[in-house]
């Protein structure tokens, strides 16, 4: 059993290494970007092997999906071939990289053995608390969601703040803001595949509802299975991206207008923080969901997790779509 796992691991790592070296070697940035997408996807499967389904899900959605799209969008706006790297840059880089590696190998000599139940990580009271007690305290089968949204809910708030920051920053750098209005449907549907792509449009039309439905499913099924606000948001965004690619930026902007997005982006974060404020006002600590329904704490936890996951989903979806719009819109203008 464990042997097969090792084999799978090694196979996946072989692919990863190949992809990484390919990125290092190729000078065509498009293929480099695609290789990066492959890299992320393989990572995702590796995470599945290592029981991190939520992470795998996220990685597949973000690494293989969103960031690849962003990379391609950037390349569409810039050069797609890179200069030959001069050796003067290579030697120091190699030294630094190898130095770091050596330090890590040195560290690994005293790291606890891989996957050993006797590891400090597994022995720490945290494990017991999260894997057993959480059922009475929170009652959410997907422990990752429980920890993410409740035990370390504050970290997740920070995470939402990070994605919010990215949204704001990219908006500030690339965004076409009020003043030069977004293209209305029909006018210059930039980046869209036009005319004879009947097949594409039909299929896209067919799939769109399912994608969005799936996003909602992931959003609200996060308590019981892999998923949650973050994955849901990304999937939703992916749907819009597909729509934009097929029907053009103009239509997409008409369907999901930047104005709304710029409202939703902060609203999600406000919702999340607002839950915290509510708990404060109800006399609990910040983000202490028990305060939401004192008589039945577990109920409170459920409510709180639902709300904050919604907040995460809203902000992430809005941020991702805004990012994509920002890049695509840049292309449409230049």
């Amino acid at each position: 059993m464990i042997g097969n796992v090792i084999l799978v691991d090694i196979a996946l790592f072989a692919i990863l290494l190949a992809a990484a070296l390919g990125i290092a070697h190729t000078r065509s940035l498009y293929s480099a970007a695609m290789l990066a997408g492959l890299f992320s996807l393989t990572c995702a499967s590796l995470f599945v092997v290592q029981d991190a389904v939520d992470v795998a899900f996220t990685e597949a959605a973000v690494g293989a999906g969103m960031s690849t799209v962003l990379f391609l969008g950037t390349l569409a706006l810039t050069h797609s071939r890179e200069r030959v790297t001069p050796p003067t840059r290579r030697v120091p880089a190699l030294l630094v990289a190898v130095g770091t590696g050596v330090l890590l190998i040195y560290a690994s000599l005293d790291l606890p053995p891989y996957a050993d139940p006797a590891n400090p990580v597994q022995q720490h009271p945290l494990t017991e608390r999260y894997l057993q007690t959480s059922q009475q305290e929170i009652g959410v089968p997907n422990v990752v969601t429980a920890v993410l949204a409740s035990y370390r809910g504050f970290d997740t708030l920070g995470e939402v703040a990070v994605i919010f920051t990215a949204g704001v920053a990219v908006l500030m750098l690339l965004g076409r803001l009020r003043g030069n209005a977004a293209g209305s449907p029909g006018t210059a549907p930039a980046g869209g595949l036009q005319g004879e792509h009947r097949v594409l449009r039909v299929v896209a039309k067919l799939l769109m509802p399912f994608i969005l439905l799936f996003a909602l499913y992931v959003q609200f099924h996060g308590d019981f299975g892999p998923g949650g606000g973050f994955q849901a948001g990304v999937i939703f965004a992916a749907g819009i991206v597909l729509y934009t690619l097929v029907f053009g930026l103009g239509h997409a902007r008409a369907v999901v207008t930047p104005g709304i997005l710029r409202m939703l982006l902060p609203l999600g974060l406000l919702l999340y923080a607002g839950v915290g404020v509510a708990t404060l006002l109800l006399g609990g600590a910040f983000l202490d969901y028990n305060a939401l329904s004192p008589q039945d704490p577990v109920q409170g936890q459920h409510l709180g997790i639902l709300l904050v996951e919604a907040g995460v989903g809203i902000t992430v979806a809005a941020a991702m779509i805004l990012l994509f719009y920002a890049f695509a819109g840049r292309g449409a203008r230049s």
Binding site: A107, H124, D155, A161, V168
Partner: protein, 491 residues
């Protein structure tokens, strides 16, 4: 509500950021930012006052106790830093209104204030938290927003600087992440106090690597020589208000985080035992003093000059705490504050010059003293502080540092401190000479009067630095408490 102060003073700016984006108008966004930073400042002061003499306030996020959830732990050390950071934010808020309106496209201003709020949130979060991973998260919030803040500088160089800052800063953050991961692998916990309790003895190789990674990562964030390359561009090209804010506290907070890891998480008995941190720190510190000051002498732009001098000043702080003595830490904390005030004042001056002259090139300052007497008076006073003239803040902290060094018989480092002070004489002297004794070059067009708000901030900072130099009894005592809090071992 006082029980919730620790959460509130981070929460308020965090709420302010989305509010800025919702309100969409420059003035409203400014008002929100100003109000938020004022609130956190008040709360920080409140925390400093309500702090028990030696103990610490602990606040459990989500009501989950220490190792299971994330806790905020406020003691003398980070109360001190909270006041510093939020104070800098207040100064920035008053200062920013005019300078940002002048330097940033009107339609993007509200986003800029949102970024300022987020940066403040991140810094405050790093300072108050008692959870290792939480430090990483908020570090990334502050870093991301600072990249954006820098990128909005007026020249295209700003974009390049911001990109380099982003790449280097992310490497730093990831190194920190690796270090935290190693520590986690050894203990299974992320809470700093719990880490300190559970980490293995000094001979563990993974522990050594963890300290090394965290040290390197945060040294990058604090621009410690030789990992300083990103700083001059970032501070030199950023919009004035951002330069003021970042120069006042961003590197300082990185220093604080490192202190927290070395002294509270790993504990002095491990960190300074497994690695020759004292020697490394003193070496890097003195190197930083000399390189920073020397490079500052060669600059042709006031803001870059100040940025290089910041690199030098970090050296003093590092040299102070790497002694791992009470006096050394005290000196470091004193200099954290004093340098923050002085450098903020100087960047405020630079901002006023940029506002009126379009740039802060040194040639452009020739003979301007007669036409901007107040501005240059401020420059002179703050500059004296930078040199470390008696009766200025700079002298106090340098005196404390030198005392600490002498107590440890580190004569070579004392020499480095003095040499760098001499170099400071040179670069400050250059600016003053150009402004005072060089005849104005070219056509002397009329210079519009400088907005009151900016003058106000500048002079408030200058006077504060003078006061810190005249009567440093209170700061010295507070810094002493902070040092005790860190040396008191686990929180």
């Amino acid at each position: 509500m006082t029980a919730n102060l620790p959460a509130l003073q981070v929460l308020i700016p965090l709420l302010a950021a989305p509010l800025c984006v919702l309100l969409r108008t420059p003035n409203a966004a400014w008002a929100v930012f100003a109000a938020a930073s004022a609130c956190s400042f008040v709360f920080a002061i409140g925390l400093l006052l309500t702090l028990p003499a030696a103990g610490s306030i602990s606040y459990a996020m989500g009501g989950w106790p220490a190792p299971f959830g994330i806790v905020y732990v406020i003691d003398a050390a980070n109360a001190w830093m909270l006041v510093l950071v939020s104070g800098a934010a207040v100064a920035t808020a008053v200062y920013a209104r005019v300078s940002i309106a002048a330097e940033i496209e009107a339609r993007r201003i509200y986003l800029y204030y949102a970024c300022l709020c987020l940066c403040l949130t991140g810094l405050l979060g790093i300072v108050s938290t008692g959870d290792a991973f939480n430090i990483f998260v908020f570090l990334e919030i502050s870093s991301l927003s600072s990249y954006a803040l820098v990128a909005m500088g007026r020249s295209r160089r700003a974009l390049l600087s911001a990109f380099q800052y982003l790449v280097v800063g992310t490497i730093g953050g990831t190194f920190l992440l690796i270090g935290i991961g190693l520590a986690y692998a050894l203990t299974g916990t992320l809470n700093i106090a719990d880490l300190h309790a559970r980490l293995p003895g000094a001979d563990n190789r993974a522990l050594i690597a963890a300290i090394a990674f965290i040290g390197i990562g945060l040294s990058i964030k604090m621009a410690l020589v030789p990992l300083h390359a990103w700083l001059p561009g970032a501070y030199g090209e950023a919009p004035s208000a951002a330069s003021l804010f970042l120069a006042a506290c961003s590197t300082k907070v990185a220093v604080y985080a490192l202190l927290r890891f070395l002294f509270s998480a790993f504990g002095i008995e491990r960190s300074f035992a497994v690695l020759p941190l004292t020697q490394i720190g003193l070496l890097a510190g003195s190197l930083a003093m000399l390189v920073g000051a020397a490079m500052a002498c060669l600059q042709t732009d006031l803001k870059r000059l100040l940025a290089w001098s910041s690199i030098g000043q970090i050296g003093y702080i590092v040299a102070g705490f790497s002694l791992a003595t009470h006096d050394g830490l005290r000196a470091s904390f004193l200099h954290l504050l004093n340098h923050a005030v002085i450098k903020a004042a100087l960047f405020a001056v630079a901002g006023m010059l940029v506002l009126r002259l379009g740039s802060a090139r040194l040639e452009a300052l020739a003979g301007l003293r007669q036409r901007l007497p107040l501005v240059f008076a401020a420059l002179l006073l703050a500059g004296l502080g930078l040199i470390g003239m008696p009766l200025t803040a700079g002298f106090v902290s340098k005196w404390a540092l030198v005392q600490a060094l002498i107590a440890e018989a580190q004569w070579v480092i004392v020499g480095a401190v003095l040499v760098s002070s001499l170099l400071a004489v040179v670069y400050v002297g250059r600016v003053v000479e150009i402004a005072w004794f060089r005849e104005p070059s070219g056509a002397t067009t009329a210079i519009a009067p400088i907005p009151l708000s900016m003058q106000l901030v500048t002079w408030a900072l200058v006077l504060l630095s003078l006061w810190l130099g005249l009567d440093s009894a209170l700061p010295a005592q507070l810094a002493g408490n902070a040092a005790d809090a860190l040396l008191g071992g686990p929180r």
